[in-house]
């Protein structure tokens, strides 16, 4: 494994609630090299908050604290907003869930992709255009010259997500955070998009954080898996060794996955009565 590119120690995210502050992430720590890390967990487990905290995207009233958040020798939690902007996109990027909402509806696809490049590099217009076209070809979009002139509502979900990936990878970042990148897509295109992410990551030698609620999917595309529950990492596993899980929550999750060759009358559900407090 390569030297840690990103180190996070004891991340805590707190929101004010009607009955005092609510801590939604309660001390998450991990290292990331140029590898593929999966974060799984159910809704509200804090996995998305963890992803967004790396890019410092959470705005007040959310309170984000870390003992250490170091990326490539920089302490991200110490950077000014301006310095942080130079990291966003250019060094660490993020693909979000639904291209229907994550692309600006009134800007053409070409403009949006070009912007991702333009905010970081002063380049002549022709070169930017050429790189946008090349990037779209890389994410396997046919006829990119036509697509750059389209608006997001004129393309399908799968294509929108490939546009999103193109936009996020065009400044050649070191880390890509993919936050449920396929949850809003048809099953038939989910694998396409993930294969594309996997290929691009491998090609550019990047680090990937794949956030998902789908344990199987994360195991298939990642080297390492963090299982999060109620704001904590409850288990860390090599992707090939899911069956060795020891934590009751992970075991519960795995047990709830139906198998092709079995006949169970009732699928087991997570035992909520035994919520493992702390």
């Amino acid at each position: 494994m390569s030297a840690p590119l990103l180190q996070m120690r004891n991340l805590r995210v707190t929101f004010p609630g009607p009955r005092g502050p609510v801590q939604v992430v309660k001390g998450v720590s991990f290292d990331l090299g140029r590898e593929r890390l999966g974060i799984v967990g159910e809704s509200g487990s804090g996995k998305s908050m963890t992803g967004r905290s790396i890019l410092r995207l959470l705005k007040p009233p959310a309170k984000v604290e870390t003992d250490l958040l170091r990326f490539d020798g920089m302490d991200l939690d110490q950077l000014s907003e301006k310095q942080m902007r130079a990291v966003r996109g250019a060094r660490i990027s993020m693909v979000m869930q639904d291209p229907k909402f994550s692309l600006n509806p009134v800007m053409t696809i070409g403009t949006q992709i070009a912007e991702a490049l333009r905010v970081h590099e002063k380049l002549p217009r022709r070169e930017i255009e050429a790189r946008v076209i090349t990037m779209l070809e890389q994410v396997r979009i046919d006829d990119p010259r036509r697509v750059v002139k389209l608006y997001p509502h004129e393309v399908s979900g799968g294509m929108g997500q490939r546009v999103m990936i193109a936009m996020m990878l065009i400044p050649q970042p070191d880390i890509l955070i993919a936050d449920e990148p396929t949850s809003a897509l048809d099953v038939s295109v989910q694998a396409q998009v993930l294969d594309l992410i996997e290929a691009m990551i491998a090609k550019n030698g990047m680090g990937l954080i794949l956030i998902s609620h789908d344990l199987e999917l994360v195991a298939r595309y990642c080297d390492r898996v963090l299982v999060m529950h109620r704001g904590r990492v409850v288990e860390e596993l090599a992707a090939g060794r899911l069956h060795e899980a020891r934590h009751p929550y992970t075991k519960g999750l795995l047990a709830a996955v139906p198998q092709m060759d079995e006949r169970r009358a009732i699928l087991p559900v997570l035992d909520r009565a035994a919520e493992y407090e702390t």
Binding site: R85, M94, M96, Q97, S102, N104, P105, V119, H120
Partner: protein, 352 residues
């Protein structure tokens, strides 16, 4: 078209017929709306308890005179014929005579409307130029003291009565500080010098090349316009703020931040572009309301505008003038609505 005709040709033809269809539909809808407006004014003209014959001949006229006028006005004809004649009159610009001014209503409208148009246009410019940025800034700083200050300003614009604002404005800026001119459109010694082209004194003075008159007209215009502008500002800023808050919570705003776009560009480009369409509706409606003529402001500032005219006509039961002014205001609303519809298509790719 031959079977061999190339595909681009066909799509071009299709696109052309598409556009023709759009234009035709546009014209048809506008015409139908206008006809609806005429039907309503016609209907109002028939049901108000004012006898149009008595309004002309007076209540001491003999039965013969009454009957003759009744026939002369076409009131003996079937209703549908009357409506047809009414539409024909309106379309040829014949709104009848105004009883209170003794002039054709069309002439009156041509005199009074430009005054309102001038004030309303100035007012809406002030309202948009200040109101939109205020709303955006308030949304970008939601919950902070900046937001609070803008909210209070907006609330003032909303809740302070126009006549009070007009009187206080006059007391402070005219009588007290002498920064602006008093009521009326122009000082008495400049009155009637400028040849009438548009009916808007500032524009006419500029066309005439008379800077003194222009400045004088402007100093008369600025205070009432500013007060009108303040009202639309309050509404525009409030709506802008809520539209912006809506956009700022959208995912694509996060996308823009992820890309490393500066917060300024996130707000003014990514979040603001999509709300332009909604703003057009708000601004169009505010403008239409101002064009209706604010009676209070027009009275306080002795402004010979359409609001003043309409009120006077109403109080003297001058039906021709009332209906004429109503049709004019209705037309203004139709024009503004249709214009914003057209702008939608330009600004929102989703509605094309």
């Amino acid at each position: 078209m031959s079977a061999l005709s190339p595909v681009p040709d066909r799509s071009l033809a299709a696109r052309f017929s598409d556009r023709t269809g759009t234009v035709l539909r546009f014209v048809l809808v506008t015409a139908m709306t206008f006809l609806g407006l005429l039907a309503i004014t016609f209907f109002i003209g028939r049901i108000v308890p004012i006898d149009p014959v008595v309004a002309i001949v007076g209540d001491r006229a003999s039965q013969e005179v009454y009957d003759a006028t009744f026939r002369q006005l076409g009131l003996d004809k079937p209703l549908i014929t009357q409506f047809y004649l009414y539409v024909r009159d309106v379309l040829t610009g014949n709104f009848g005579m105004s009883l209170s001014t003794g002039r054709p209503v069309v002439e009156d409208l041509a005199r009074f409307f430009p005054a309102t148009f001038e004030m309303a246009t100035f007012g809406i410019i002030i309202g948009v130029v200040l109101g939109v940025p205020m709303g955006v800034i308030a949304a970008a700083n939601a919950g902070t003291w900046i937001d609070q200050v803008i909210r209070v300003l907006g609330l003032l614009g909303y809740s302070v009565p126009a006549f009070w604002m007009g009187l206080v404005g006059l007391a402070v800026f005219y009588a007290g500080l002498g920064w602006v001119a008093g009521p009326g459109r122009i000082d008495i010694f400049y009155d009637g010098i400028t040849p009438v082209v548009t009916g808007m004194l500032t524009v006419d003075a500029l066309l005439d090349g008379d800077v003194d008159i222009f400045l004088n007209a402007l100093s008369h215009l600025i205070l009432p316009s500013a007060i009108l502008g303040f009202f639309s500002l309050a509404y525009i800023a409030r709506m802008t703020r809520s539209f912006m808050l809506d956009q700022l919570s959208q995912e694509y705003v996060i996308t823009a931040r992820v890309k490393g776009v500066s917060e300024r560009a996130v707000i003014w480009k990514h979040a603001f572009y999509p709300i332009r369409v909604q703003l057009i509706t708000v601004i169009g409606l505010s403008y239409a309301v101002l064009l209706e003529g604010s009676v209070m402001i027009e009275i306080v500032f002795s402004w010979p505008g359409i609001g003043n005219y309409l009120t006077t006509a109403l109080l003297s039961a001058d039906m021709n003038a009332v209906l004429g002014a109503t049709i004019l205001i209705g037309t203004v609303f139709i024009v503004i609505n249709r214009t914003s519809d057209m702008l939608y298509r330009v600004l929102d790719p989703r509605s094309r």
